[in-house]
Amino acid sequence: MSDIFPKWTNRLPALVLAGVAVMGTAGVAGAWYYFTPKYTRVGYQPIQPVNFSHNIHVDQVGLDCRYCHNGVEKSWYSNIPSSTLCMNCHSQVLKDDPRLALVAESATTGKPIPWVQVHKVPDYVYFNHSVHVNRGISCVHCHGQINQMDEVRHAQPLSMTFCLECHRDPAQKIRGLEHVFDLNWQAPSPTAQIDEGQRLVEEWNVQKLDNCSTCHR
């Protein structure tokens, strides 16, 4: 068959195999890295209309999360505070600062500040804030160390895998209610976390809740 196939075709099978291996690996690795919420969501940090720093308000001033997000323990929704709430302090602190002009205006006119939403779950996902924070899931688990952020950043993928990791084994995350809003708190050791987590899971009768209809109702 030498008159049909030139000599270089002897190398063809090896080249094809190598090509398939390289392209296949590249395709899988590319999809693995770029097509998951770990890449598409984490790090999202839009510019907000007011340069509000959680770092200053929580770590320096010492505000509790619930001073502003006061619905989080009672509602499925963790509310964004109204601008009048900001004015509780800012009618006296930095009251003429131009960086707060929009807040003052909003408080006077009642027109809300157009904050850009950072954390979103799809509309086919049912998520309830109150049930999580009342059963030992801290803000930090989903939102990261907001207390250290000047501008809010998407810290966790909030993918289905992310939710299921905890729903399938709640003991690894659950903490005492006194630590839920302390974003700097960590269990003294990983084993202490598991022990305490397992104790709380039993005490509160926390179920694994990994049925589809837990979130997709």
Partner: protein, 476 residues
Amino acid sequence: MARASKTVNGVQLTAPPQELVREPLVANQRGLGWLSDAVAGISERPTPKWWWPAFLTSLGLMTVCFAMIAYLMSTGVGVWGLGHPVMWGWAIVNFVWWIGIGHAGTLISAILFLLRQRWRTAVNRAAEAMTIFAVMCAGIFPVIHVGRIWFAWWLFPIPNANSIWPQFRSPLMWDVFAVSTYFTVSLLFWYMGLIPDLAVMRDRAKTKLKKFAYGLFSLGWLGANRHWSNYEKAYLLLAGLSTPLVLSVHSIVSLDFSVSQLPGWHTTIFPPYFVAGAVFSGFGMVLTLLIPLRKMCGLEDVITMRHIELMCKVTLATGTIVGYAYGMEVFIAWYSGNPYEQFAFWNRAFGPYWWSYWIMLSCNVFIPQLFWFKKVRRNLAVVWVMSILVNVGMWFERFVIVVTSLNRDFLPANWGYYVPTWVDILTYVGTFGLFFTFFLLFLRFLPIVAIAEVKGVIPQADPHHPLGGAKPGAHH
């Protein structure tokens, strides 16, 4: 009629009566060389006049199919006639119909091979090609009926960012594995059988491109003893692998229905009844394709009247099994004393879709009974029309199963009447374009009869035949 007799060693030997002599598998004492010329010549001769209009029509219809799918994807499943309570419509009917047609190919190539049915050699190549293209058409429907087609890959067990696996306990998942296995094994079987014939095409090829292409796919076949020995073993192994697939694939398709708890679907007879129906429709399609094909390609001496007759007999047998299954379903509905089951079957025969039930019974059970008569089996025009009616009937069988079981739910508040839309109809018609586009390309570029295998069953291949044996100077 005087019977020839002769005396050998004092024993008088009489030739068998004329009507007991088997017709040879290749007629008119055609030889080995003629066979290569006749089959390879089909794709070597200039394109016949009928080919281009047929191909362009098929191509146009295939475009219609893809246009309908694009419309479905861009707009949503609302473009189909589905609606409460009939949530499965033409898409599932067409899926089951096409996949059923595919069964003849594997039955002919695998089961008839293991049963030493030598007549299979003339029809197996075309039947296997038909299988592959029919499974391709079938595969379209489950993928597009999921609605959000871009999520269809969730059917495959791939590790994903949702940390979940598909529901392995669902028959719809079993379908994915059954159909994809079936397609893969059929394709491999078909391709492996093609290798010696592709080598023939390569050796006869005149142009450089043809030499290269046929040479590439014939994998360096030289017809050496070692090649044949490996080939025969591999063929037997693949036949062994495919044989359970003939039974498993349509059994699993039937479980899509029978695992659910709907009256009319929830019956244990479904797997064998579906397999018989699949073979029945497959042979119908093989006859529909091969009767014109043998004429247009000048293969009347290879695909003989004997072949046509044998296929008619398989059709008769499987059609009768299907008829028995219909009868048994009705009997069990009565015998079970279950009012819901009884209502489902009463509704099939006399409900709003009564006409589909009677078309099904006529085409699948009554009309094939004509194949009892040799006169009918030997009349090509009648056989051809009946073969088409077989597939009309089998399409309506799936329509009856899918739609009449759904349209009358347990509560009259959930009763409805399903009507397909023009998108449903054009998608189905379009799949014929897909099927025939591939089939016509197959006709044009590949040997449509297994040359090497037919040579093995030709009368001259028998060393005791007057023209056969490896005599010095014999023509090959």
